[in-house]
């Protein structure tokens, strides 16, 4: 009976309990995975609080984001961050990462550990013209877009051509 009452209360209150504007995304009605990109040196800033034991108690801290990522040259290292809701914990599904540039496509598979994927990736050829990183798992498909390098504002050796081995 108590459970029935609880369900009815939840049914009644759910629509007004929280909404998409909630700051704390863990408490939103649909708690979806989150994705972000970071340079290796900046990974720590994007690890969500639940995944970072050093910041216990901060329940509404950072979340992964694509926004802070600058343009990349081919061969540059960056990290893909994929975070599941703490309520989901672990899934049985692999995370498929897709890297797409104007001249290359690559697919990488990763697995969550404690709901978190921190996957170092090397930017593929033509990354300087822009890169789309797609993270797909079960019923979630997220994308981050890395902007192209602004050639006009950059020095000519920002993305020096890679030396081909043997040449």
């Amino acid at each position: 009976m108590m459970n029935a009452v609880r369900i009815l209360l939840i049914l009644g209150l759910a629509p007004i309990a929280c909404d998409d504007s909630d700051e704390c995304w863990e408490n939103r009605r649909i708690v979806s995975p989150r994705m972000g990109l970071a340079l290796p040196s900046e990974v720590d800033q994007q690890i969500p609080p639940d995944a970072d034991t050093t910041r216990a108690g901060d329940t509404c801290g950072d979340e992964p984001t694509c926004d802070a990522m600058p343009g990349l040259c081919p061969g540059d290292a960056f990290v893909v961050i994929h975070q599941l809701s703490s309520k989901v914990g672990e899934t049985q599904y692999p995370l498929k990462l897709g890297l797409t540039t104007s001249c290359a496509e690559a697919e990488i598979e990763a697995h969550h550990i404690d709901g978190l994927v921190l996957r170092p990736v090397t930017a593929p050829p033509c990354a300087e013209t822009g890169l789309v990183v797609t993270a797909e798992i079960a019923n979630s498909r997220l994308q981050c877009r890395v902007p192209p390098i602004d050639v006009e504002s950059s020095t000519s050796d920002v993305c020096a051509p890679q030396r081909v081995e043997g040449e």
């Binding site: 369900i7 939840i10 009605r29 708690v31 019923n139």
Partner: protein, 919 residues
């Protein structure tokens, strides 16, 4: 509920089990036994531990193995050119020499193998065979030691091999497959290596021969899988057997439940018996239990009927009880009519007389009143008498429908009525007084069938009025019997019929003829009826004579035996044939006999009817001079004159002849006559017709009694409970007829199952005032608002809202339905929804729920409004589907719980009625 779960489980098991067992491979009629013998011989050699055979050829074995290894090396792409040439050369020249030696140096694998083979030449076959495994195998399949499970080696014997293949080739194939598999475990050689040396190894010979035997015996390509198929067939058979057991059990549970329901609805419950108040319900139920369905209700006491839901023998006993009750329905009807007639007329000859104080209103109440002293009137307990009359009538009618001579049975009934009807009191004549003149007239009429004799003439018919005891009470003028009257001096004015009739000369019946001129025509009609009765009785006698003498019996064609059946099967078939043939003959004779009995009963009823006409016609409209009355006994229906209180003026003389009562008497006779059709139906073993005829008789009798109760009590509702009692009986009549008709327990079980779960159950929910509790499925189309909670794929849904697009809906659960004037309102509590797998998620590209063990669960609550008087309806509902939304199939993976609020258009499929009230 348990019944349903059993049934659901059975259905599930049944659906999982393949409908057709995998057939075992058909064996050839006479497979060649030689390969089997060869295989057995090889196995014996292998098990004889004869390493000398291999050791003696060890060099050749070594060479052969090296050649195989070398051939493998030759196939290698990385082989250098010169070595390749050397190998080619060696392979062309099989003699090992320098080249081979060189190869051995260059090919480490060859050297390693050779070293092993070198060891083999010293240590026997150990390096090629696992001796321990071989010994284990051999102790199981070869020889006659105690550990041998099956002596396969014994198939070396030609006769034994031949016999084994003829009797059970499938089993031989399984054994060979097993042996081959075990043999394969013995060797360390791969296929090519084994092939190279097989000619030198008894083990390899055995392996090869076993394979050959398998293929030769049952066909290539099939045999290696025989074992698996056999096992599959066994599992399927076992699963089907299990399913059948569960289905049978579920059916028998249903049958037991139905019988309990029938018993509770039509018989007296223990609760009723304990009731302090004498309620109408109680006397009605006692009426059913004692007279209408005595056998079934006896079984039904204390849930005894439920035990008849299990076992063929018990079902047969139940069938016998039901048949007895169906056969007793005419007796119940005739007994009710006669009993009520007696009660209504006893000690109340004049209709206008006030009711006697304390008298019971109807014979149906006598079961409760008979225990009360207040029911007696002036020292006479008319209830006891009425019940006695009723009991005698039931016995007589039962005897008739079972094949007794109706003339005898009716005469015995008449004699019993005569005995009960005569009371003694102060001032009464020696033979007593008549409690009910009407009953006495009827008794006289009923007894005339026997009194008219086998060759009736006009005198003999009239003399029957003297010889039948029940008639003598009316015509005997107070004497005990004719002999006493004749022996009494000065009896001239006493007897109505002249004593000279003892000579049976019609002209000597002076008194009758002289005083009662109207008797000629009724007498002729009585004579005609009597002749027909005699003819009908003669036919019965002829049938009995035929049965006593050997006749040419037409038997159906016996079964043919073509020699393929085993002796036991042939014996069983012959026995079944004989039983069927005899049963058919017995049934034929019984049918003829009962049809003839029915003819006699109809003729006897006609005689009774014409006798009533005669008795009515001889009664003068004015009082005749003393000593000239034809029915002087009627004047003794005046017992209480001068008696102490309660003094009731009772006048019944010849001038107040109960002409009004004659109509009732003729109705009773007509009821008896109609029982003939039931006898015919029983003779034909048409229990459906018998049940209908019997029930129709009962309805007529009950309706008549109800009318008379309403008239005598001036309360139109007085007899209604009695007619209401017919409803449950009529409701179950079809089931009773099906039980009685069933030829065996399986048929009976099917009939009961059909009765327990009839199609069109939704109809029973219709009608104002009806209430039905049932296990019901609703099939339809639904759409819903859906809120989810839990892990769905990679997302956690926290009571998020979605829509469930229209999809199939098949909820099953408990329904409580109330019938209204134009519709049905119902509360439905679904438990499962087998169509839940089709709840596609439109927001995720139409993805279906990943099946898991909880997917079909859908507990909840629903309302239902029927569209008029139809099975269609609108059903708003709320369902909770646990772990319903799972991304992929899973046994115990995560999933989101779902609450659906929606509506469906459904069709009511009532599967099992648990309780119903109303119609």
């Amino acid at each position: 509920m348990i019944v349903w779960w059993l049934a659901a489980l059975a259905v599930a098991v049944w659906s999982l089990a393949p409908n057709e067992a995998v057939a075992a491979p058909s064996a050839p009629a006479a497979p060649d036994a030689q390969p089997l013998r060869d295989a057995a011989g090889s196995l014996r050699k292998m098990c004889a531990k004869a390493p000398d055979i291999l050791v003696g050829n060890s060099e050749e074995v070594r060479e052969a193995v090296i050649r195989v290894q070398v051939a493998d090396a030759f196939a290698s792409k990385s082989l250098q050119t010169e070595r390749r040439s050397a190998i080619e050369s060696m392979l062309r020249d099989p003699q090992p020499g320098d080249q081979a030696d060189k190869l051995e140096r260059d090919l480490p694998a060859v050297k390693r193998l050779d070293a092993e083979l070198g060891a083999a030449t010293v240590a026997g076959t150990d390096k090629i065979l696992d001796d321990t495994k071989r010994d284990t195998l051999c102790t199981q399949i070869c020889g006659d030691a105690a550990t041998v499970m099956l002596d396969v080696c014994a198939f070396e014997d030609a006769a034994l091999a031949e016999a084994a293949l003829r009797i059970d080739p499938g089993a031989v194939a399984i054994v060979l497959a097993h042996v081959e598999k075990r043999l394969a475990e013995l060797t360390k050689l791969d296929t090519e290596q084994a092939k190279a040396v097989e000619d030198y190894s008894p083990y390899l010979n055995a392996k090869d021969d076993v394979r050959e035997a398998m293929f030769a015996g049952l066909g290539a390509g099939v045999l290696p899988f025989v074992g698996a198929e056999q096992i599959g067939a066994f599992i399927n058979t076992a699963a089907q057997a299990l399913a059948k057991v569960i289905v049978d059990r579920a059916k028998r549970e249903a049958i037991g439940w139905l019988l309990d329901t029938m018993a509770a609805e039509v018989c007296v419950s223990e609760k009723d018996k304990d009731a302090a108040a004498e309620t109408e319900k109680k006397w009605v139920r006692e009426e059913i239990e004692r007279h209408w369905l005595p056998n079934l209700c006896t079984l039904a006491k204390k849930d005894r009927a439920a035990h008849y839901g299990a076992g063929a023998a018990q079902l047969s006993a139940l069938r016998a009880a039901v048949r007895a009750d169906v056969g007793g329905l005419p007796g119940a009807a005739v007994g009710l009519g006669l009993g009520h007639l007696f009660l209504e007329t006893a000690l109340r000859p004049v209709r206008s007389n006030p009711r006697l104080p304390g008298a019971t209103e109807g014979v149906v109440m006598c079961h409760t009143d008979e225990r009360k002293p207040a029911a007696s009137v002036s020292g006479f307990n008319v209830c006891t008498d009425a019940l006695q009359v009723r009991s005698s009538a039931e016995a007589a009618m039962r005897a008739i429908v079972e094949g007794s001579d109706p003339r005898t049975a009716l005469d015995e009934l008449a004699t019993e009525i005569d005995r009960v009807n005569l009371g003694t009191t102060a001032g009464a004549p020696p033979i007593g007084f008549l409690k009910s003149p009407q009953a006495q007239l009827l008794a006289c009429a009923l007894s005339m069938g026997r009194a008219v004799g086998d060759e009736p003439t006009k005198p003999s018919v009239l003399v029957g009025l003297l010889e039948a005891p029940a008639c003598w009470t009316l015509v005997g003028s107070g004497y005990e019997n004719l002999a006493v009257a004749l022996a009494t001096p000065g009896t001239k004015p006493v007897l109505a019929i002249d004593t000279r009739v003892s000579g049976q000369q019609f002209e000597q019946l002076s008194t009758l003829v002289r005083l009662h001129k109207k008797v000629r025509r009724p007498t002729e009609r009585l004579l005609d009826a009597s002749k027909k009765l005699a003819a009908a009785a003669k036919r019965v006698a002829e049938l009995e004579d035929d049965a006593a003498t050997p006749q040419d019996v037409r038997l159906p064609a016996p079964p043919t035996f073509d020699g393929t059946k085993k002796p036991a099967e042939a014996a069983d078939a012959a026995s079944t044939y004989l039983e069927d043939a005899l049963a058919s003959q017995l049934q034929l004779r019984r049918a003829k006999h009962l049809h003839a009995i029915a003819d006699v009963l109809e003729a006897a009823a006609d005689v009774a009817s014409t006798t009533l006409d005669l008795l009515e016609s001889v009664q003068p409209s004015i009082a005749p001079p003393p000593g000239t009355e034809l029915l002087p006994g009627l004047k003794y229906a005046d017992p209480i004159q001068g008696a102490s209180a309660p003094t009731v003026a009772m006048k019944f003389t010849a001038t107040t002849f109960p002409r009004n009562a004659l109509r009732l008497l003729r109705v009773r006779v007509a009821t008896i006559k109609r029982a003939a059709s039931l006898a015919r139906a029983i003779g034909d073993e048409d229990w459906g017709r018998a049940g209908n005829d019997g029930f129709a008789l009962l309805i007529e009798a009950v309706t008549e009694v109800r009318k008379r109760l309403a008239t005598t009590t001036k309360d139109p509702k007085k007899g209604e409970p009695l007619t209401d009692a017919l409803d449950p009986l009529g409701k179950h009549l079809g089931t009773l007829a099906a039980i009685a008709t069933a030829k065996d327990s399986d048929e009976m079980a099917e009939a009961l199952d059909a009765a327990a779960n009839p199609p069109g159950g939704w109809r029973s929910k219709l009608g104002k005032g009806n209430f039905t509790a049932s296990l019901t499925a609703h099939a339809g189309l639904m759409g819903a608002y859906e809120t989810r909670h839990g892990i769905y794929g990679a997302q956690f849904e926290n009571w998020s809202n979605h829509g469930q697009a229209p999809t199939l809906f098949l909820p099953f659960g408990l329904e409580l339905a109330w019938g209204l004037e134009k519709t049905v309102l119902a509360l439905f509590f679904p438990i499962i929804d087998p169509a839940a797998f089709l709840g596609y998620d439109l927001g995720k590209g139409g993805r279906l729920p990943g099946p898991n063990p909880l997917t079909v669960l859908g507990p909840g609550i629903a309302g239902r409004v029927a569209f008029g008087k139809s099975p269609f309806g609108l059903m708003p509902f709320v369902l909770f589907r646990p772990r319903y939304r799972t991304w992929e199939p899973t046994a115990n993976g995560p999933g989101a719980h779902v609450v659906q609020i929606g509506a469906a258009i459904t069709v009511d499929v009532t599967l099992f009625r648990l309780f119903s009230r109303g119609r």
